[in-house]
């Protein structure tokens, strides 16, 4: 009887030690939930969710402080993915869904004040003081943060239209209707 108790106690000790060791050795850096949420957010960094960037919003969601339907660039698809991940209910998006856009500077009007560079969260604008500025289209996330600061209102948003490089095959049902 005593030996049995001793063996069980010993087993518990060894396993406990092993678990304790494992939890230190394989400790996960950062908060994995925040990272998973952030991977779903579109990284537009526009602040439309009311947080200064996608990461703070991800943290707020992980802490249960924020709703999952506040990110307009992510659209309904983003809300659905977040609901899936977190086991929450799907809610309609708290804004209008917009197609993806890019900002364009009218280079004739630009006075080179550098205000837009300071506003751009993803370093997509190049230029220098008193020089013409321009936006690198492939880097622009379409966050619209550069529009307001421009004193001469020379930045506009343009919808990225379908072209031969980003064209996608459509869902087949559409074509069947066309044939019928």
């Amino acid at each position: 009887m005593l030996t049995a108790i001793l063996i069980m106690a010993l087993g518990a000790l060894v396993l406990g030690a092993a678990l304790g060791f494992a939890s230190i050795k394989f400790k996960v850096e950062g908060n994995p939930l925040v990272e998973k949420i952030e991977a779903i957010l579109p990284q537009t960094q526009c602040g439309q969710c009311g947080y200064p960037g996608c990461k703070p919003y991800a943290e707020a969601i992980a802490d249960g402080e924020a709703e999952i339907n506040l990110c307009p660039p992510g659209g309904m698809e983003g809300v659905r993915k977040l609901a899936d991940l977190l086991g929450r209910d799907v809610k309609p998006l708290d804004a209008e869904e917009k197609p993806k856009q890019v900002a364009i500077i009218d280079e004739q009007t630009c006075i080179g004040c550098t205000l837009c560079i300071q506003a751009c969260p993803v370093d997509a604008i190049v230029g220098a003081a008193k020089q013409m500025h321009t936006i690198v289209e492939s880097l622009c996330t379409g966050c619209e943060l550069c529009i307001k600061p421009c004193p001469v209102e020379c930045i506009r948003m343009e919808t990225i239209s379908e072209n031969i490089d980003n064209w996608k095959w459509k869902y087949p049902v559409v074509e069947l209707k066309r044939v019928a």
Partner: protein
């Protein structure tokens, strides 16, 4: 006789090839206008090298390859460039692409052509010439050939496969090329063999083309080559690169590998022919053989200039009055052309005029009964019904688990499906969605990295500024303490002059103190903005800096 292997699956559609091989290759007349898209191959987009108003010669480079995986385009005839603008492309999307519009002058005047002895050139140079001659896979995939012409480092190249399979129904452009221009194909294959240092060359031709097999055998014999010309059983898609490799060598190339890693490479017969023209005759790719067949009075193969508007081209075949659509490529893998305004390109191997009787409208799609017929015919041993199920539900992760990217879109599964499900269309849809998501994901990751970098930079700059201010404040406080009242007065700028006039003696001391304070401030400022790249320098570098400082010292004193 070589032992042949079998690939799994496959179907036997009605070949319908005979009508278009009754006549020899016709030379298509010069159209009134040529529209040459700049992006005609897989890979980078060539940059336009001409502008409206320029005169060009036949064979002149009009679009230069912009990277290694890219291919040049040339003026198909001499004439005047009318515009470099977006024009409708021969693409299922019906969207435009940047094209050079040329009005031919009818003289067909060539650039200077320099024939080359490729054996005297570096292999690297030969590949460059092929790229700048616009040689791409003419089987329809238009992959730049030069990029396929390097053997893997560790694997010797055992077999070079020359693909004359041409398994698609209706299509005969490779068949007729082998019948009429076999020697050019053999010579081009020889160039490929020498570049790849391939041990054996196998020419695979479906056994429903006995004339082509005979012509190729005769050419090989005449040129004294040791190529093996092999008739392979006719079964769609035997002309698929992976299927032909499998049949001739028994090697199975998975989607994750490139075929040189398995010691084998495969080229289409027409590609070999154009490579020979490019190297030995100095002629870039300006035209190709295209089958025009289907619902037309005169089915035939034509040698056509690239950039010929399709409406001019199809007129050569005299389409019958009930023609209601045109397909580019074969009926299995091709697509319906959105408009005949688009030009003919390097990928155009076949144009089929369709009518309601030739291609009856598809029967309505019915639910999948999981009969497994599609899986039986899939040459890649996939499970189309599973992929279809998940593609339909837009569950793209699952389609990838079922290896959707191994699918070559051969259409065998759609062909046999008793429920008439357009399976391939679902797979194309799923694949392009996955690609676009991947693009978006990469862009989001890059944006996130830039955002984080920027935040870090902002923070650093803020910290540096705060430090600077703190130091300046400290210095100010120190100065204030040293020369009691007058110092602070002198520091307040303009007033110091007035003060100096009133009490010259006192002002002198104050001035000195003020200057000292200003210099101290300046020194501190200089220090705080010193770039931090002065740590860990070598002795020589430090000596150099000391010398420069010594030289600068007198100049600074002058100031």
């Amino acid at each position: 006789m070589l032992q042949l292997f079998k690939f799994k699956g496959g179907v036997k559609p009605d070949p319908k090839k005979t009508p278009s091989v009754q006549m020899p290759i016709g030379i298509a007349p010069l159209p009134p206008l040529l529209i040459v898209p700049l992006h005609q191959s897989i890979g980078g987009k060539p940059n336009p090298l001409v502008e409206a108003g320029d005169r060009v010669l036949k064979g002149q480079l009009i679009g230069g390859a912009d990277q290694w995986l890219s291919s040049a385009v040339h003026a198909p005839t001499s004439g005047t460039v009318l515009a470099v603008e977006e024009r409708l492309a021969a693409h299922p999307s019906g969207l435009p692409t940047l094209s050079v519009v040329i009005e031919p002058d009818g003289r067909d005047a060539w650039i200077e052509r320099t024939p080359l002895d490729y054996t005297a050139l570096e292999p690297e140079r030969v590949r460059e010439i092929l790229r700048d001659s616009g040689v791409v896979g003419l089987g329809g995939a238009v992959f730049p050939s030069h990029a396929k012409l390097a053997a893997a480092k560790s694997v010797p190249m055992d077999e070079l496969i020359i693909n004359g399979g041409e398994c698609e129904p209706f299509m005969t452009c490779d068949d007729i090329l082998m019948r009429e221009r076999a020697e050019g194909i053999v010579l081009g294959s020889g160039i490929f063999r020498d570049l790849l240092k391939a041990r054996r060359v196998l020419v695979g031709i479906e056994d429903n083309k006995p004339e082509a097999v005979a012509a190729m055998k005769a050419a090989v014999e005449k040129l004294g080559e040791n190529f093996e010309v092999i008739a392979v059983p006719t079964r769609y898609p035997a002309g698929g690169a992976k299927q032909l490799i499998r049949v001739l060598t028994g090697k199975e190339v998975p989607a994750s590998k490139r075929s040189p890693e398995m010691g084998v490479q495969c080229f289409n017969v027409a590609t070999a022919y154009t490579a020979w023209r490019a190297i030995v005759h100095g002629e870039p790719v300006l035209s190709r053989i295209v089958t025009l067949t289907g619902n037309v009075e005169q089915p035939r193969n034509w040698e056509v200039l690239l950039g010929t508007p399709l409406k001019d081209f199809v007129a050569l075949g005299k389409p019958k009055s009930d023609t209601d659509r045109y397909l580019m490529g074969g009926p299995m893998m091709g697509f319906e052309l959105p408009s005949l305004e688009a030009p003919l390109v390097k990928a155009t191997n076949c144009i089929i005029a369709g009518s309601p009787s030739l291609f009856p409208p598809p029967a309505p799609e019915m639910p999948c009964i999981r009969c497994g017929a599609c899986a039986d015919v899939c040459p890649h041993e996939l499970q189309p019904f599973e992929m279809y199920w998940f593609a339909r539900a837009r569950n793209f992760g699952k389609t990838q688990e079922y290896n959707i990217f191994d699918c070559i879109e051969c259409g065998c599964c759609s062909y046999v499906c008793p429920s008439h499900i357009p399976l391939v269309q679902y797979f194309r849809f799923a694949k392009s969605e996955i690609w676009s998501r991947e693009r978006e994901k990469n862009m989001a990751d890059a944006a996130k990295a830039r955002f984080e970098l920027r935040n870090e930079r902002d923070e650093r700059e803020k910290a540096e500024k705060a430090e600077r201010l703190a130091r300046a404040a400290a210095a100010k406080a120190a100065v204030k303490k040293a020369p009691p009242e007058s110092g602070s007065e002198a520091l307040s700028g303009d007033t110091s002059v007035a003060v100096a006039a009133a009490a010259p003696l006192d002002a002198d001391a104050a001035k000195k103190a003020a200057i000292a304070a200003a210099m101290e401030r300046a020194r501190q400022q200089r220090e705080s903005v010193q770039p931090k790249n002065t740590e860990g320098l070598t002795v020589a570098q430090r000596k150099e800096i000391a010398e420069i400082e010594a030289r600068r010292a007198p100049l600074q004193a002058e100031e």
